[in-house]
């Protein structure tokens, strides 16, 4: 008979990052108020300007309403029931990796992100963030030789306060949205990247975010600045243990590209998605935005979103500089009861700006997968162009896919092109492949990979292989 069950088995998701690291942590009490914010700021020994930034954001947040326009349904979040700072206990000052708790190193080892000198990845510098704090950053000295700054944002606040003060909140203002305001008030750590003028970053930079505790939220903040004629490729990975409660993750990422600079930002998001009944999983509310400030600057987002119970995420580009380029390549896979409302905003402000959007949504199980995107051509965006392509794939007959494209143009001399399609992996397609000797699982994964090819081609090589594997894994199960 119609093999719905077989399809269900195949898309069953084994989550191999669900372990918890047993480590003594320093947590502050639950709840959110001015005192908590002051306490976080004090723990991080922050300058006054940052505390002011936080408190201002908090005031704004209190006046804001949680957005309800996304095609998402979830239990109301109790913001007073969350711990806003949680850090593994370790020595006050760590001067080298040898002083990092071996349990932490072991954790990242298990996640495939070895940090120690002997084992570290050779071609990628890694900033490893565990709950609220950055544990270690590799290759710092080597990068420093090129003038590249790659460190945790807490360290940047201490050592490069001028850059932080100049750029923090300039792309995503605290008042931007509810979750950005919350993040601005309580952010605990994240990565900071500065590429000086004329420098092509000698290796890929990468942050790995790990949520470990079940009752604390993760609010990381990333800031990347690419000066004139510089370029960098940045990768981001995320995992979390399996808890039956929902954990809130509300991050902010800001990118700034000056004249002729280019930033490529790639994400493989594999937060714990909850179980088959939708119990547990991460609530992922993220604001990511890049500002193409300079002429001919380029910001490219590519993302493979496979985890989280809820994903609310719209990596966007503000195209100010003449001839600047914004790109968004996305694969979002949802399964079981996962919900994703994700897409992008391409705001064309400068003349001759160009943007490309390629979004591939795959929904399996009873999941809900929506693309939501805005393309806006401002008054001065003469000769600007956008191309959008949004494709959805349905696996089984209980999943849903939606596309919400918003187009606003104030400039008649600009072009906007939008294409959308929906397809379903049909039993006939599977039977056709099977009748050619190709096993069921491989047939599904071949079709999914084929569907995502346009996006995978945009990912850095190793990431692309990982993404392909991750999708196959997510779609793998006990067939036969």
């Amino acid at each position: 008979m119609v093999n719905e069950n077989l399809v269900k088995d195949v898309v069953k998701e084994p989550y191999k990052y669900g372990f918890v690291t047993d480590i003594e942590t320093e947590k502050i009490e639950k709840g959110l108020n001015e005192d908590i914010i002051k306490l976080i700021s004090q723990k991080k020994e922050e300058p006054q300007f940052l505390l002011d930034f936080r408190l201002k954001a908090f005031k704004k947040w209190q006046k804001m309403k949680e957005p309800d326009w996304a095609a998402l349904g979830y239990k109301k979040i109790d913001y007073q029931d969350i711990i806003y700072y949680s850090a593994p206990k370790q020595k006050e000052k760590i001067s080298s990796l040898d002083e990092v708790d071996p349990k932490l190193l072991e954790t990242f080892d298990k996640l495939g992100i070895p940090l120690t000198e002997q084992k570290k990845l050779t071609n990628v510098a890694v900033d490893a963030v565990f709950d609220s704090v950055s544990i270690a950053t590799t290759f710092r000295e080597e990068l420093a030789e090129h003038g590249v700054i790659f460190c945790s944002i807490s360290e940047a606040v201490k050592n490069h306060a001028d850059l932080i003060e100049k750029y923090l909140g300039t792309v995503v203002p605290a008042s931007d949205n509810y979750f950005a305001a919350l993040n601005s008030a309580v952010f605990s750590d994240g990565s900071f990247v500065y590429i000086p003028k004329g420098v092509t970053c000698p290796m890929d930079l990468s942050s790995y975010f790990r949520i470990n505790s079940g009752d604390s939220g993760q609010f990381e903040r990333t800031l990347i600045i690419a000066e004139e004629l510089s370029s960098v490729s940045y990768l981001e990975g995320c995992t979390a243990p399996m808890f039956d409660t929902n954990t809130l993750h509300a991050a902010v990422v800001e990118l700034i590209a000056l004249d002729d600079a280019s930033i490529k930002y790639s994400t493989v998001q594999n937060w714990y998605a909850g179980d088959e009944e939708g119990i547990g999983g991460i609530f992922n509310f993220v604001t990511k935005r890049g500002k193409c400030l300079g002429k001919r600057s380029k910001i490219s987002w590519s993302q493979v979103e496979t985890g989280s119970a809820i994903t609310w995420k719209y990596p966007s580009c503000l195209l100010l500089g003449e001839e600047s380029v914004g790109e968004f390549y996305s694969v979002a896979l949802t399964n079981n009861l996962q919900q994703a409302d994700t897409g992008t905003k391409m705001i064309h402000i400068g003349p001759k700006t160009k943007s490309t959007i390629v979004s591939k949504g795959i929904s399996a199980g009873k999941s809900k997968n929506s693309y939501r995107g805005l393309v806006k051509m401002g008054r001065k965006a003469t000769g600007s162009r956008n191309y959008s392509q949004c494709d959805s794939m349905l696996i089984g007959d209980q999943a849903s896919a939606n596309t919400f494209p918003y187009i606003k143009s104030q400039q008649p001399n600009s072009e906007i092109e939008h294409e959308a399609s929906t397809c379903r992996i049909s039993e006939d397609q599977l039977f056709y492949l099977q009748s050619r000797g190709i096993e069921f699982e491989e047939a599904v994964s071949m079709m999914v990979s084929g569907f995502c090819r346009d996006v995978f081609n945009q990912l850095p090589m190793e990431f692309a292989a990982e993404a392909d594997k991750l999708l196959a894994l997510k779609l793998e199960g006990s067939v036969g």
């Binding site: 008979m1 397809c423 039977f431 190709i438 071949m446 079709m447």
Partner: protein, 261 residues
């Protein structure tokens, strides 16, 4: 009918097979035996169960076998997965080949060919070696190399799809090929290409079942046996001249056989 002594064992034995879908009986006791080197034609009105028979032999999951057996090389295959049947040498040429967007034809053909080769304990082919092999096989169906870089069957014309099926048959070298209306929708030239392709691929060790409505394919490939199906049963079996007679008299003529049986 097939009572004369055969020197070798049969490739395919369908024994009193009944099958249904959604509790609706489609096949009602079909028996059919194919020996190496034989070509069988199955004819009959639309909806008589010809395509269903071919899909059931290939293992389509939508049908339930309610009675009877299918044996391939002496083994009962009733419960084998479609991929296992293909790997062991059963080939179904689809009446309507399926489009698979995003999956390159070349990669599909390679994975498929390697699945069969693995079963035969032959070395699996890498992309380069496979290119060599596929080039050779493209000749058989007179297909252009450009077909390989397109998505499986996507945007192919009717004739191109059918040729792609025969290309797959050429690569998989099956023991038995069931070709479901491979001739329908083909112009005369394409029909000749397909027919000559089938003849090149088949040999004294393979069996072929042609499901067709038309004599013109049978003019190109002369069957040893012709079976007429009606309402899920084989109501008459004869030699190749039965097809000619059928063409002349139409299916109404066969309605009398049902009354007789």
């Amino acid at each position: 009918m097939q009572s004369k002594m055969k020197e070798s064992d049969p490739i395919l034995e369908v024994d009193n097979l009944s099958a249904s879908t959604d509790n609706l009986p489609i096949l009602k006791g079909i028996s059919l035996t194919v020996y190496p080197g034989e070509i069988h034609a199955i004819m009959g009105r639309n909806g008589c169960g010809k395509s269903t028979l071919s899909k059931i032999i290939a293992g389509h999951p939508s049908y339930n076998i309610t009675n009877g057996d299918i044996k391939f090389l002496g083994e009962n295959i009733n419960s084998l997965e479609p991929e296992e049947r293909s790997q062991s040498g059963i080939f179904l040429g689809f009446q309507y080949p399926i489009e698979i967007p995003g999956v390159s034809n070349l990669e599909f053909l390679r994975v498929s060919t390697n699945a069969r080769r693995k079963f035969l304990n032959k070395e699996e082919l890498d992309t380069f070696d496979f290119e060599e092999l596929v080039k050779e096989k493209l000749e058989i169906v007179k297909m252009d190399h450009a077909f390989l870089s397109r998505s499986v069957n996507q945007g192919f014309s009717g004739g191109e799809k059918k040729r792609n099926e025969i290309l797959q048959m050429a690569l998989l070298e099956p023991k038995i090929a069931i070709l479901d209306e491979t001739d329908s929708g083909l112009d005369i030239d394409a029909l000749r290409i397909v027919a000559s392709g089938i003849k090149k691929i088949s040999n004294a060790q393979t069996g072929i079942i042609l499901i067709t409505h038309y004599q013109r394919l049978l003019d190109e490939i002369k069957p040893n046996y012709v079976h007429v199906m009606s309402d899920g049963q084989i109501i008459k079996t004869g030699e190749s001249d039965l097809a000619l007679e059928l063409e002349e008299k139409g299916y109404e003529w066969t309605d009398n056989f049902i009354k007789e049986t």
